[in-house]
């Protein structure tokens, strides 16, 4: 079930909640995932599913002080459970064991500091001993940014989006981490630049043996990049599969819905499919299977009991109907009104008829 025998990172039953006036709100619920050395692992789901929160919990970088880990452990090879480290100890992990890059490269660089100094600062943080200037040039060149001398004196606003993302990667890798957490690294970029960045990340894996946790809402990115993938919905992992298997034989209605919404070249001009309804508000998570209000296969059991993880090869699917023969055609049947969308039986005819939960 778990490939983490030689795992670099092993996240077990990780839960995250934010404090609020009306009590804690769970955002991430018992998420387990593992990443081996040199492996690229995808974490995919619609936005708002808790992917970034999971990454923030691993990297101790929550967007708000109200958020905290409420359970589980984050085992890093050679270090042990990261959740037990003091802030001081954790700083030694940052950049040196785990690097992070983010969605919008324009806001993740200090606008008042030159590129060279920002990358150099990351080197300094890890006590780099040689000539920092040379090493910065080397790193930038490695990211496909030649002419480092000139680029180093530039400010972030003088760079293109793709250049900025490359600089962010250079800074994240300055401390030579084993794991790179990439939170939607190509989402904010132009299509061609997106592809270049993904190619770069793959090359870095190949050349440096880097492990990558690739967070994305786009299964197309997963197909291009990943070895294994975790599908996340409403704070939970609902399916984990080898990347080859998940495209060939997906076993969760949510995964199927995401796949149906992914562009394949021949349907470019058709209107894109999207799963009707919305990711639930964390303050009002549905009981049982959290996907049941949107699921065409939902039955009473789904509403009442959380589906167990059904082993599938090296992964699993957390769905009561994981081997239902209608599963592969579930969304098609829903569009043809053979199946209702959601347990409440809401027909999937048009947007305005899908009432808000």
């Amino acid at each position: 079930m778990d490939t983490s025998a030689t795992g670099l990172l092993d996240v077990r039953d990780l839960s995250v909640a934010v404090r609020s006036r009306r009590g804690p709100i769970g955002l991430v619920d018992r998420v387990s995932l593992s990443i081996g050395r040199g492996e690229i692992v995808g974490l995919v789901g619609e936005s708002g599913c808790g992917k970034s929160m999971t990454a923030a919990a691993i990297g101790r970088l929550f967007p708000t002080t109200a958020a905290r880990i409420t359970g589980g452990e984050v085992m890093l090879e050679g270090t042990g459970d990261l959740t037990n480290l003091s802030d001081r100890q954790f700083r030694k992990i940052r950049g040196a064991r785990i690097g992070m890059i983010f969605q919008d490269p324009s806001t993740y660089l200090d606008p008042l500091m030159t590129i060279g100094r920002q990358v150099g600062e990351a080197l300094q943080a890890h006590g780099y001993e040689g000539s920092r200037e040379d090493r910065v040039a080397e790193l930038l060149a490695m990211m496909g940014l030649p002419d480092a001398a000139q680029l180093s004196t530039r400010y972030p606003h003088e760079l293109s989006g793709g250049q900025r993302q490359r600089v962010l990667i250079a800074a994240a890798l300055a401390g030579e981490p084993d794991l790179l957490i990439a939170d939607e690294p190509s989402t904010a970029l132009d299509v061609t630049v997106q592809a270049e960045i993904l190619v770069l990340l793959r090359e870095l894996r190949d050349d440096l043996g880097l492990s990558i946790l690739m967070i994305t809402h786009d299964l197309g990115v997963v197909a291009q990049m990943c070895d294994r993938v975790y599908v996340m919905y409403a704070g939970r992992v609902v399916e984990e599969r080898d990347v080859y298997e998940i495209f060939k034989d997906p076993r969760h209605p949510y995964t199927l819905g995401l796949l149906a919404g992914t562009l394949s070249p021949e349907v470019r001009d058709q209107e894109l499919f999207a799963i009707p309804g919305r990711v639930p508000d964390p303050r009002a998570m549905p009981e049982g299977c959290r996907f049941h209000p949107r699921c065409p296969l939902a039955v009473q059991e789904c509403r009442e009991k959380e589906p167990p993880k059904q082993p599938l090869g090296e992964g699993f699917s957390a769905c009561w109907k994981y081997d239902d023969p209608r599963l592969p055609r579930a969304w098609q049947l829903a569009e043809e009104h053979v199946l209702p969308v959601g347990f409440e039986g809401i027909p999937a005819t048009s947007d305005d008829e899908v009432s808000e939960p």
Binding site: K92, G95, A96, I98, Y108, D110, P111, A125, A171, A172
Partner: protein
């Protein structure tokens, strides 16, 4: 060169400032025209002057001509540095203003420095202890600063520190009497500077707090943290540096309000500057002095704004593009 574009930028900002100054001049002109009574009286002040002098004024300012011609004449006089004559003070207005300006600058700049130090301190403490007691205390202080009239604060300070405790001078006539060494009498400066600075303490503290909070939750701070840079370096190199420009802008752009506030405070303390002069000229209906003060304060405000923009541009490379 990183800053080679600054002179051009400064020049442009100055050019943009010209219409503002011109606007104030036109307001002055309109005031003279629209005020009840003879424009000549407004130009001279409510003071018995010989008829020949009135005639001369009428000729100089073309008062028998059309309004546009009068405006041109008025502008011409201003360009020659002729701000009129104060009859109640028996002095040329420009000389009078230049004489009173240093005292006002001394007071306003001291208040500004004081407000900057205290305000930034309060703002930093508030941001650091956000939502806790020091933050609340700082916010209450800020609120008081926005609510207490500076002239009343001046009176209360006089009551406390001069009348009751006797630690500091009352203000009153002493600085006027000692015109020459007023620049060095620090004890006279303390109370008016404190009274004047309170509102700016509030303004600066509020801006510092919100700017710091905003920057410390900025994405790039998180990114820097993710690279293992220590918190103290993040604060020094990134947070403070990025939080500074809005604070500096607030300080610079509000210099005009400090000047206006000094009108009130100088009056309470008998501080021999422009503000006190305005009070005197209002009481004695010395109109040329009044309009000249409006002009000089407006020009100072505009210059302070231009200077602020230049400092801002020096700190923020992103402004270059504009």
């Amino acid at each position: 060169m990183r800053h080679s574009w600054i002179p051009l930028f400064a020049l442009k900002r100055l050019l943009f400032a010209i219409p503002l100054v011109l606007g104030v001049v036109i307001i002055n002109f309109l005031l003279i025209q629209l005020a009840p009574g003879d424009p000549a009286t407004v130009l001279v002040g409510d003071f018995p002057v010989p008829e020949e002098y009135l005639d001369r004024i009428r000729a100089e300012y073309g008062l028998d001509k059309s309004i546009p011609e009068q405006l041109i004449a008025y502008l011409g006089q201003l360009f020659q540095g002729n701000l009129g004559v104060s009859f109640s003070k028996r002095q040329d207005v420009l000389t009078l203003l230049l004489e009173r300006m240093p005292a006002t600058l001394k007071l306003t700049l001291s208040a500004m420095v004081l407000a900057t130090i205290v305000g930034v301190l309060l703002g930093v403490v508030a941001a650091k202890y956000r939502g806790r007691a020091p933050d609340t205390a700082s916010q209450v202080t800020t609120l008081l600063g926005f609510s207490v009239p500076e002239f009343w604060l001046g009176q209360i300070l006089i009551l406390l520190f001069a009348v009751t405790l006797g630690w500091l001078p009352l203000g009153g006539d002493a600085p006027v009497r000692g015109d020459g060494d007023v620049l060095f009498n620090l004890d006279y400066l303390v109370l008016p500077a404190v009274a004047l600075s309170f509102r700016y303490v509030a303004l600066i503290a509020r801006m510092t707090r919100s700017s710091l909070l905003e920057v410390s939750s900025a994405d790039f701070v998180a990114a820097t943290r993710s690279r293992g840079v220590s918190e103290s370096l993040i604060l020094r190199r990134h947070t403070l540096k990025n939080a500074a420009p809005p604070v500096i802008t607030v300080i610079g752009y509000n210099f005009g309000f400090i000047l206006a506030g000094s009108v009130m405070v100088e009056t309470v303390f008998g501080w021999p500057g422009i503000g006190r002069l305005l009070y005197e000229s209002i009481t004695s209906r010395d109109y040329p002095v009044m309009t000249a003060i409006l002009l000089i304060i407006s020009v100072t405000v505009v210059l302070a704004n231009v200077l602020t923009d230049i400092v801002h541009a020096l700190l923020d490379p992103r402004l270059e593009r504009k």
